[in-house]
Amino acid sequence: MTKAIYMDNNATTPVDPAVLEAMLPYFTEKFGNAASRNHAYGWEAEEGVEHARAQIAQAINADPKEIVFTSGATESNNLALKGVAQMYREKGNHIITVATEHKCVLDSAHYLETQGARVTYLDVKPDGLIDLAALEAAITPETILISVMAANNEIGVLQPIAEIGRIARAHGVLFHTDAAQALGKVPLDVQAMHVDLMSMSAHKVYGPKGVGALYVRRKNPRVRLEAQLHGGGHERGMRSGTLYVPLIVGFGAAVELAVAGMTEEAERTRNLRDRLLANLTGGLAEVQVNGSLEHRLPGNLNLSFAFVEGEALLMGLNDTVALSSGSACTSASLEPSYVLKALGVGDELAHSSLRFGIGRFNTEADVDRVSERIIAVVNRLREMSPLWEMHQEGIDLKQVAWTAH
């Protein structure tokens, strides 16, 4: 039995074969500790690390000295928020972020609130973008950090990073962006965009899991962080711990590969995404796109199929295609997607949503096979749905008095 088509590339990506090849020597041949300064085993490991550091810095127009390696974007986000909040607490205690950020940003912010920080969680517009005027209005003399993700993991929406950077810079507030989903897919330039801190992840861009980085600006202004991991003083004292050299080498290779092909790949995945959308809206009624189509990662799509539930959909699809859903039944917390909620989509349509992440290894044939199967499963589930039946009868579901348990 063939494996299902993998179309969940916002969840994670396979390691590119070229990346794996770059990593392998560092497991058994060049296995030294990069911090061993006194022998060739250490020197060659360090060389691998520094090469990767340069590849990543190059990708975002930063200096290699500004790249701190971590275990992933979750750690980078924790380091950025907590590191800044703790270092700059004499200057202020107010942080501005957005309701649709990844849980690791939101949860770090909640933690900082228990430690005395004040946090503003900006709302988003129905298309998923923040209101720049609202951002500027939220800034106070106590604001020390603005954190807004470059691309959203659920709806793929791209925030106006350059404009946010300009506003932050004008008010002397540090600007952090979680670029885990954006790196290698859309252009990023920390100078042009006035970004002071940027979180990055390897496994979203065809690199290995377990490694990420944080860009920390050194000039204009110099950003300082309170380390969250103490020890040997690695990464200029910002993140102690022996570097996982093979993962870092893979990370660098993955980023360089992604950036080299970015323009063509963006066009290719955008065309596939648009084809998927056209197939589905052509074959089904009551399909809604969640989040702006214009300001969006090229390969991402998030759709609600009214009157059918997400987990039931995935159950009928999982032998054909791997996807995820914003339905409560598919989440660990049994809550529907808070990102869709922030868009004002409504819980019912959140339960009916599917997220598609088209990637490097997806083809037109994949898209056609997937759309064909989705149309079949949605139709079958609608035949089984009392809500679809009521809709067919012309009943307005919003007027019904439901007897929720």
Partner: protein
């Protein structure tokens, strides 16, 4: 998410999907849950003159476990009297489908749907008797 074979079977081959005429005097209709919760079950029974459920149909908006729970409920109902139907417990459904703890609420909703359908049928009979007495 690991589903039991029985849940998968009910999902792929649901028993008794469909609708009965809700205006028919011998039909009881139960509609429970809410779209915002991600679970809505419509369960209908047709009861004959002897008080035996001769047919049951369902439609469900919900996950695979919810679909399986309501499908199983219609299987249990057919051939039972109303008193016997009221003996059906959600735990019977949990056991039969091997539902994990996070899905137990699906079986509870199915039990609610059974009771709602029976209550609706009984309400109709009361109204009929009342009308007959009035004449």
């Amino acid at each position: 998410m690991p589903y039991s074979d029985k849940v998968i079977d009910h999902y792929n081959n649901p028993r008794n999907i469909g609708s009965l005429d809700k205006n028919d005097d011998s039909v009881g209709t139960g509609m429970v849950g809410a779209p915002e919760c991600g679970d809505v079950m419509k369960l209908q029974i047709r009861v004959n003159e002897q008080g035996v459920i001769e047919d049951a149909k369902f439609k469900t908006f919900g996950c695979g476990s919810a679909i399986a729970s309501s499908s199983l409920a219609t299987e249990y109902l057919k051939g039972r009297t109303l008193e016997e139907a009221l003996e059906i417990k959600n735990t019977d459904i949990v056991r039969e489908l091997s539902l994990p703890p996070v899905k137990i609420h699906c079986s509870v909703l199915a039990e609610d749907a059974i009771r709602a359908a029976i209550a609706d049928y009984q309400q109709k009979q009361k109204a009929r008797a009342h009308d007959a007495a009035q004449q």
